[in-house]
Symmetry: C2
Subunit: 154 residues, 2 copies
């Protein structure tokens, strides 16, 4: 199995979040390959200075190389269907290649969300970008533990 | 303002989560006093070996000293009403003394949840105990930022 997480994020090391991100990355790798792709460039930076709509367009453009036919695309979108950890595990079950998308500060274009195979919400609360990434990683590990009958999730 | 977070947790320093917990504790303190009380003792440990019901009773007993009349009690309970970050901020607004409760591995007694002033859920997904604490701290900081018109939450 191969999982990719694509985010609109400057990336880089961070004393607070990197240890957790590295921890979950490491334990997920007992079940699946995992790549975290943090995307941020001049185009996105300039787009964010123009307007929310232009910013969201720039996110869709940045994500487009990852929207391939041979991957199951799952986007985190607060306005979409809320899942619990078992629903989430089921989304991963028997998949070979899965790509997750986490939008930028201005969210995502409706058109982009609609193009993904699945759009899910983890709840109504707004969380910091970096904390969402940790929550997603924890849910991926929990989901793969559920699918592999590993006791972590209990 | 004074906020207490009471949890059923062994506490102690942890390389992964403690830096984040300390970070949010520090930034929350610009708005409010904050105490995190991690409770775990022999009684809870033994109760958890007996049954889920006995474990939950032991959590209620451990929390009872914090159920005082002069604090607004808010319990995190997955089966209760889900809030967004603005609902959550509103719960903190104009409060002088607030106590949060996070249950143990077996959840909480219904009777305990019903005794609290507010019971809230942050979403359907199951998160690790330590990650829930970080999410609660982030929401407290976000809520106090909203109530104080600080730009963090935008």
């Amino acid at each position: 199995m191969k999982i990719t997480i694509a985010t609109i994020d400057k990336g880089g090391k961070d004393k607070l979040y990197s240890p957790l991100i590295e921890h979950y990355t490491k334990i997920i790798k007992s079940y699946s390959k995992l790549d975290i792709v943090d995307i941020f460039d001049n185009k996105i930076s300039k787009a964010q200075d123009v307007s929310a709509d232009i910013a969201k367009q720039s996110y869709s453009n940045a994500f487009s190389p990852y929207m391939t036919k041979n991957t199951t695309t799952i986007v985190l979108d607060p306005s979409s269907k809320e899942v619990d950890s078992f629903d989430f595990a089921f989304l991963l079950k028997d998949r070979v290649d899965v790509t997750f998308f986490i939008g930028g500060a201005f969210g995502l274009e409706r058109g982009f969300v609609d193009q993904c195979n699945n759009a899910i919400s983890f709840g109504k609360i707004t969380l910091s970008h970096k904390l969402i990434k940790v929550v997603l990683l924890e849910q991926i590990f929990r989901g793969l533990s559920i699918n592999n009958n590993h006791p972590y999730h209990k």
